[in-house]
Symmetry: C2
Subunit: 183 residues, 2 copies
């Protein structure tokens, strides 16, 4: 099996397991079993579990932001694009197996013990914040709007994860609309 293929299979398995059950409760042996890649190859590809975790967060970040951007770009009006972010959150929250934000969860799990995980989480959140800021700028709105929109989105992710409801997305969207109208 090609090395690149093995890598993908490992990351696919790791993502499903880490996101669904938490990182610490998933052993390398479970990743081996779910991916079909032997332990030996697994350790050649990722010399330690922490590096697999890093790669998992990194690839998920690319995909997550890609999916968000793809959804937002289907909307032409720059103002509505901002609200489309919250529509996409609603879709995401409603997906089978949704269990909150992977980065917020990872921070809760490993924030105190792994600097590299913290760096990944910060990078992801900064990228998401920057993206929101770019949408605000494209709509010709004051830059100060980006921060509250970001907080609403984060609050919605956390709350949707904990309560298992998609409602926070709609609530955040309503609040975002009010903020947009008030300035």
């Amino acid at each position: 099996m090609d090395s690149a293929v093995a890598r993908e299979r490992v990351l696919d398995a790791a993502e499903e397991l880490f996101y669904g059950r938490g990182i610490q409760s998933v052993g390398m042996d479970a990743v081996r079993g779910a991916s079909g890649v032997s332990l030996k190859r697994l350790y050649q590809l990722f010399p330690a579990k922490e590096q697999l975790v890093e790669a998992y967060l990194e690839r998920r970040d690319e995909r997550w932001r890609g999916r968000l951007a793809a959804h937002v770009e289907r909307e032409a009006d720059p103002e509505r694009r901002i609200l489309a972010v919250f529509d996409w959150l609603a879709e995401w929250f409603g997906e089978e197996g949704f269990r909150g934000c992977a980065w917020i969860n990872s921070y809760g799990e490993l924030g105190a013990t792994s600097d590299r995980v913290v760096a990944q989480v910060r990078a992801h959140k900064r990228a998401f914040g920057d993206y929101l800021a770019s949408l605000v700028a494209d709509a010709g709105r004051p830059a100060a709007l980006a921060a509250p929109l970001f907080l609403l989105a984060e609050g919605a992710m956390v709350t949707a994860g904990i309560t298992g409801s998609t409602r926070p997305a709609a609530e955040a969207r309503d609040a975002a609309r009010l903020l947009l109208e008030s300035r």
Copy 2:
């Protein structure tokens, strides 16, 4: 040593360790060492670690909401009381050793594996949401205002934890003020 005293010492130690380093990375032996309560008594008081975790979250919930309410009640004007919540968040975020919301972190760490922890987290968040709703009602404002205020607060907690900054509290406060003014 009195049983009640031992219990308090254990919970004090557990809270400091669990909050500061994460729950899974703190062994019962560390709790013993930090509390000065022997393993035997520790297991008499809390027959399993999960029950200690539950008790930790429960006691912290009482104290956390107590501190918040005490701060809010220093403000007489019911409208300003709502904003006082965010002022208190700023104080909290600035405390030495602040590392985000204990319940959000616990959910990230154990949400997938411990139903009892999930129940604690939900109970805490519901209580906080209900408290916000009561402040909104006392101010004679539409009940629909409570949800966005809650999301702003949650987003601020998460963001302050991850970035280590107190700024999200001020940003959330500003957004809350705008929402209050717009309705």
